[in-house]
Assembly symmetry: C2
Homo-oligomer: 402 residues x 2
Amino acid sequence: MKSLFSETTRTMKSSLIRELVASTRNIEGLISFAGGFPSPKTFPKETLAALYQEVVSNEGASVLQYGASEGDSELKKELFKWEGYDLGQDKMLITVGATNAIYYMTRALVDPGDVVICEAPSFLGSLVAFEALGADLQAVPLDLEGIDMNALSEKVEACHKAGKKVKMIYTIPDFHNPAGLTMSYVRRKALIEYALAMNIPILEDNPYSRLRFSGEPVPTLFRIAHEEYRNNSIVMEVVSFSKILGPGMRIAYAKGDSELIERMCSWQQKVNITPDCVSQRVTARFLSGGYMQPHLDKTCDFYRPYLNRMLSAMATSLPPYIQYTRPEGGIFTWLWLPEDMNADSLFEKAKAHKVSFIPGSKFYPSGQEKFNCLRLNFSYSTVEQIDAGIKALGQMMEEFYT
Amino acid sequence: MKSLFSETTRTMKSSLIRELVASTRNIEGLISFAGGFPSPKTFPKETLAALYQEVVSNEGASVLQYGASEGDSELKKELFKWEGYDLGQDKMLITVGATNAIYYMTRALVDPGDVVICEAPSFLGSLVAFEALGADLQAVPLDLEGIDMNALSEKVEACHKAGKKVKMIYTIPDFHNPAGLTMSYVRRKALIEYALAMNIPILEDNPYSRLRFSGEPVPTLFRIAHEEYRNNSIVMEVVSFSKILGPGMRIAYAKGDSELIERMCSWQQKVNITPDCVSQRVTARFLSGGYMQPHLDKTCDFYRPYLNRMLSAMATSLPPYIQYTRPEGGIFTWLWLPEDMNADSLFEKAKAHKVSFIPGSKFYPSGQEKFNCLRLNFSYSTVEQIDAGIKALGQMMEEFYT
């Protein structure tokens, strides 16, 4: 069969993280900071169980039937209400999770060889999708306020000089996965102005912005473009319910330019026909029933102590030459190690000490890796495990220099 | 934004059927034989409502979480039980409806310009997906027993002579959409033997085989290859629950060669991550609870009178020079008109008489159309509408020659 595979399928990479995680699966008593799943303790099971029952029983003739490829109009209506502004149904598409929206946008814009700009580091799941569609991935470093604007414009200029088309800028501005960073308001405006000037669409990946445990929210790139630049086209925002409701329901939405949404919907017709109509309507009823805000408050209350414990454990137990981000939400933090400390080697050592994390190199396009960094998840371990695991990591780092 | 669209997205076709159906939307009192949706009266609403409630309440921590990209192992277990033979989990992939499986298989095998053989006529939804992925679609006519084997081998030979790679043969052997035909057992064996000899995988699209209202079932291509040729690789069978449970749940599965399944799963990771985990588990519980067979019996009992009425109306009211298929199940029948009678013109005339159907030309790859044929659906109208609509159609055909 292999001889019949298409070119892209033959060369497609599998997830390195999957293999890493598999390599620690049988370690008894493992303290894992490697995961990226939400805690099942946050799922509003009973409310959802009742809503599923109601929706299928009362609206079965509609939700068990084929739905519109653009998504359930009732869900779209509730989403616009939730966000506080109605863009019109033709500017929104419901998808099977955020990755699905990212895939459609990439299909709609990118011919093999076209450039997609991503942040360095960035979310691996999106990077492999971009690469599988033949994108030339170019990574631009992050500083403490977000994507480095000078590096971005240099990179775009170099691409243009090389005769390449730059088709989009992919960013995760809130509680970045893996870097834990939130892009500053000033940087968001600079990025929008740059994108408008260069006519390069921004893909704003937003799975975490509503998981804010402290501090003031920064408006999304989409909202800033909408409110301050009267522009609904330059940013395509993708919002996922995976981290705030339940990833098993596979509900996300994209909003932005109506022409682009129409083409993404054309791809949806050919790939999925429509997302699950039952879970779409249940999500609509979860919003219209007023369950979302109390649920989000509860979820943030649940995660907050884990983040706080992680921050204090890092302050106490990591050597002073380790830099790390101090997020106000999300589920990840990110460590910068000294340049001569390789996190891939540290991973092997930590595994022997029954601690795991994801080495930072896995979050860069091939050939553009950094090795002195790593990602820590704080939503899956107990607070005692956080203390013990970070203490062990700190000791391993110290030993590196003895 | 348009200037940024990728090449395939710019040239992609939208569904002609969608536009046709839209053109009849506001006709009051329309008798429609155009649809392809199952009747919502067949949806087992109350059973599903209870199962959704139970599954989310009792198994929420699992089904609301990210699931495996290859699909829920509990559902796969139940599917193998249902089918009566266990191939092993690595030979099955759960997908977001059948189109999704067809898309992944095409992505896994077809480079732009590679040939996909389809039947003429064939299911438009699949044809547009093949074309969007750059396949060179080559149509092979059907006779009363299924795909014409001489025409098939001539077509494949011609493709090979032209230096083209033939990557798969796409067939709908049971209650074919749109042709209403069921491929004979003898023809199935001939097709499998040919595919084995030529090493060309068969994509067996199977949404309707369990909607049999009379007569004896013919084993699927997959089962014949499995049982009589001890081969699990040459046929990839795609089974959908859209016509036998509810299309809104978006559940289908593909089974076949494990290497190919693995690559299709790699695409699923990049496109959807996983299908809806709640609806997957509900489908598993529907099967394990023993609800499926009684539900199928009831569904067949529901549709049977409509098919019978359609067959007797056609026998009574159509002119003797009209050929039509006499299906024993499914939801479609197909008419062959005299060569000089154009069904696209007939459609316009019928619309004026408040009757609609789909002209057959819409079910062929571009440039390979036949115009003297049409598809009739019998699952959406009342029996009175069937009588009146077929009578009106018969009269219009007679008038064609006066």
